[in-house]
Structures are given as C-alpha cells and as structure tokens.
C-alpha cells in the first residue's frame, strides 16, 4: 500500500472531495457561462462570474500521459502509475491508473473512473474502460 499524503481541503476544492466521498467525479462549472474549470478558480476567467456550480463528469476519458511512481533506488511494491487523464468533457485530471500491468500501458488508452480507498484516503482511480472488475 503506497503512502498517501492527505489533501488539505480549502474553499475552492471542497466540492471535489465531498463528491469523491459520494463516489462522484465533480468539476467546477461557471454558473454564468457554464465553462468548466480545472483546477478550479474562484472567479470565471471567461465571464468574471463569482457564481458557480458543479457538473458531474462521465468518468470516461483517455490516457494523455503517465509515469511509474516508485522509489528510485529501492523498487518496491508501492509503485503506482500516475496518469494524466483527458476526460470526455475536455478536462484534464491527474489520478492513478490501476487494473493494468505496466508493459500494457500506452497513451490513448480508454479509461473509466472508479473510487478506492488508498492508505485510508478515498481517491478517484482510473482503469481501462470495459475491463470488467
């Protein structure tokens, strides 16, 4: 089990972590012009609105880039694949890629979100789409 540094939730990303607890992948959406913004900002850069709501994402996307995260001199079983996922809604999100062996990983893979408790913290995790359990 990797060691997970717990997020320090603040007013601009509280919605996201509340969504994660409910198994929902949320992104900030401007209530004025409906622009999606990730990472979130307190003001919409397109229309200047301070009013916002959230949109639940499909959780589907493609692998944009990835690395293997592990201790550089003592390879261990805590290695994780860190993924930059481009979601169908056009938002890019950093997460982990699970349910696949490293040699099989390639950019462009179709992915879908799941939620898992990792080291006591619930995190969105992505796995190959349609791969079953």
């Amino acid at each position: 089990m990797p060691h997970v540094v717990s997020p320090t939730v603040d007013r601009d990303d509280e919605f996201f972590w509340n969504g994660v607890k409910e198994g929902r992948l949320l992104v900030r959406r401007c209530a004025g012009c409906r622009r999606l913004q990730h990472p979130p900002s307190p003001m919409c850069p397109a229309c200047g609105s301070l009013e916002w709501d959230v949109q639940e994402l499909s959780g589907r996307g493609i692998l944009h880039s990835w690395i293997l995260s592990q201790h550089p001199s003592e390879p261990d079983d805590m290695a994780r694949i860190v993924a930059l996922v481009e979601l169908d809604e056009g938002v890019r999100l950093v997460s982990n890629l699970v349910g696949i062996d490293v040699p099989e990983v390639e950019n462009g893979l179709l992915l879908e979100v799941s939620f898992a408790e990792v080291d006591g913290i619930v995190l969105p995790q992505f796995r190959p789409a349609g791969g079953g359990a």
């Binding site: 717990s6 990303d13 944009h64 690395i67 995260s69 550089p72 860190v82 930059l84 950019n107 990792v118």
Partner: protein, 381 residues
C-alpha cells in the same frame, strides 16, 4: 516609449564555490557572493541601493545589508516561480535602474540546497491546497511532476531516454573542463548515462537530473551609461522578459492544449526577438535552465533553434557543443556545474561576453539566458 534594450548592464559577478556541503550559513554564502560581485564591479557596498532575489530565497534583505555594509536601499523585489524566475531577476533589476528607482541593484541567490533542504526529496504533508490535485496520487518530487509533462513530449516525437542522455553527456563534457563544476574532470559517456539508475521510469535517469548544490551567486546591474565608467567591460541587457501564460502552471504544467510544447518559452522567445531586433540565428551561446535534461529539448524548439521534435537530432548532430552552431550551457549547466537555481548560468553568460569563460566561444556577442518562463538576451554595446 522607453526601451530596456541596451539601457542597463551587468557590471559585476561574484560567487562562492559550489559544493555538497558548504559548512557555513546561507547568509554567509549570500554575503560572500554579493561582496565579491561588488568588488568585481569596482564599487563599494554603499553604492548598492537595490536588491532582487527569489521569493523563496532564505536571505532577508536587511540581514544582507547589515552583513555586507549596504547602508540604504530604496528598491527591493523578488521573483516568483523558483528557478523559472531566475532570469526574471535581471528583468527586475534592469527595469529598476532604467526607470530611475534605483541606481545599483544587486541580484543574489544563495542556499544550502544539498546539505540543507533538498528540493529533489519527496514532499511530506500536509500540502498547500494547490497540491491536492497531485500529491495524493504520488507526484511528490519535481522529477515525477515534470516527467508527467515530458512523457507526452517523448510520445509525440518518438524521443527516448537515450536521446536525453546525449544532452547529459554534453553537459558533463563542458563541466569536465570547468574547475567550478561538480563534474570537473569527470566526463561521462552515453553508456554511463544509460547505466545510471531510473529516477522516474521510463523518463528520467539519475544523470538527467541537476546537481543539488550549496553555494551563492550574485550580479550587479546598473544603467549602461554609468557602466562605462566601471572596472569591467559592461555586458548589456538587450532584452528581458517573463513568459507567463493563462492556464500555465510551474511544475504541474499539464493544462495547455499541447503539452509536447512549452508555450511559456515560446512567449518569452517572441518578446526577446522583438525587443532586441534579432532572431534565433543571431544567438552565439545559449544558457538554458535545466533542472532535468528534457527541458533543454523543449526550449531549443520553443526558441526556434530547431523545429518541433527536432531537438534530439539537433543535439545528436553536435550543434550544442563548443565549436557547434549553438553552444549550450558551456559551464556544464545545472546538470554539470551545479544547481544554484539557474542564476549560475547567467554568470556564465556574462563570462562568455567578457571573453574569459573556461570554455570560451570565440567572438560571442549575444547570449540567451533562458529559464523557460523568464529569459534575457545579453550582449555587448
């Protein structure tokens, strides 16, 4: 409108030795470097009336004054973004002296970045909120964070870690003849690079990483007309800028449409060429900030020294070596000389124009010092 072009000059440089354990305080390193730069310029501490450093530099301006003997200062500023802002220090200093809010500005950066807090080590919690998007998933070191950017570049252009290794070999070759460098008299081969351990597989090996170092560096900036009367031949600032773009990030730069490119550096390039009235073909030496070797590839392409995806061939063909079309990081860079957060590379740019660099490029008249999101062009006259 007033222009910065040729209106300000670097008239003094100073530094400590670069090491893995300085054995003294960061403030002492700072004071030694600043005092050396003032002496190099032929000035006195009391002549200094302004300072610029990084927001994250540990050395307080008032502590610097009472250590060095600077009596009054009417201008201080600090640049954001860590090493990415290293060339912005020169922009701040030049803007101050050209506008008249200061007369003689010292730029400094000093730290014990190896024997003290190492930037390359994993961040522990609790993270600042902006790290929530990264740290819980394992992006806890700069090497990992940058690699998630670099992987897209490698994928897009078919670049391998061995290609990165060819830069690493050149950096150590330049360092091997530089007594200030950690890799002095220790050139490496591509085989050595490929045998070094993975830091982030399959992106970065150990020899792709900069040399965490202890040390201090400083430069003195004043108006070009005043510079003529000082001890050293002035090195003029031909252009200086920052390259901040919307939706950009410093370490986690994942949100631009095309992350196989470096829009910040493309923006600095456009501004530099326009201000200085030159193009990439006019540059004689390029000092390019490289915490990790792939950053050189992105910047060679952003400045138009070669086309997108062509950096691996540009490097393999020998262009960035002494005697090549565009010698790069002639001191060994941050990989070979040491990591004084990029400012040591600007000192090397000054030495190249003075003509007293250890790996001197014959007839160097224009030097680019780029940290990607900030950059300057230095020249003569």
């Amino acid at each position: 409108m007033p222009s910065i072009k040729g209106a300000a000059a670097i008239v003094g440089i100073g530094q400590t030795e670069f090491s893995k354990d300085s054995g003294r305080s960061e403030l002492q390193l700072c004071a030694e470097a600043v005092r050396a730069a003032i002496e190099d310029a032929g000035l006195e501490p009391a002549d200094v009336d302004g300072s610029v450093t990084f927001t994250i530099d540990p050395n307080d301006e008032l502590n610097l004054m009472r250590s060095v003997g600077i009596r009054e200062m009417r201008w201080t500023s600090r640049t954001p973004f860590g090493g990415g802002g290293s060339s912005a220090t020169i922009e701040h200093a030049a803007a101050a002296v050209v506008s008249g809010v200061a007369d003689v500005v010292v730029v400094y950066r000093a730290f014990n970045e190896r024997s003290g807090r190492r930037f390359g080590q994993p961040m522990a919690g609790p993270p600042p909120p902006a790290m929530n998007w990264y740290l819980p998933y394992g992006l806890d070191t700069p090497a990992k964070a940058y690699s998630l950017w670099f992987q897209r570049y490698m994928h897009r252009y078919g670049v391998t870690n061995e290609d990165f290794g060819r830069y690493s070999v050149v950096a150590r070759r330049h360092a091997a003849t530089n007594p200030n460098a950690w890799y002095y008299e220790r050139p490496i081969t591509l085989a050595d690079h490929q045998a070094s351990r993975w830091i982030v597989e399959p992106i970065l090996r150990l020899l792709d990483c900069c040399q965490e170092s202890d040390g201090g560096v400083a430069l003195i900036v004043t108006r070009a007309d005043r510079a003529k009367d000082l001890r050293r031949p002035p090195v003029t600032i031909q252009a200086a800028t920052q390259g901040n773009t919307i939706f950009g990030e410093t370490i986690f730069n994942y949100y631009h449409d095309d992350i196989s490119r470096f829009p910040e550096a493309e923006y600095t390039a456009r501004q530099l060429w326009e201000t200085a009235g030159i193009g990439p073909g006019d540059i004689d030496v390029a000092m390019i900030y490289e915490n990790f070797s792939p950053v050189v590839f992105y910047q060679l392409e952003a400045y138009g020294f070669c086309g997108p995806g062509e950096a691996k061939d540009f490097i393999a063909d020998g262009n960035i070596e002494i005697g090549g079309k565009l010698p790069v990081n002639t001191n060994g860079g941050l990989l070979g000389e040491g990591y004084i957060h990029g400012v040591n590379n600007i000192l090397e740019g000054v030495r190249q124009l003075r003509g007293d660099a250890v790996n001197q490029v014959d007839g160097a008249e224009l030097v680019l010092c780029s940290a990607g999101r900030s950059a300057v062009v230095l020249g003569l006259g």
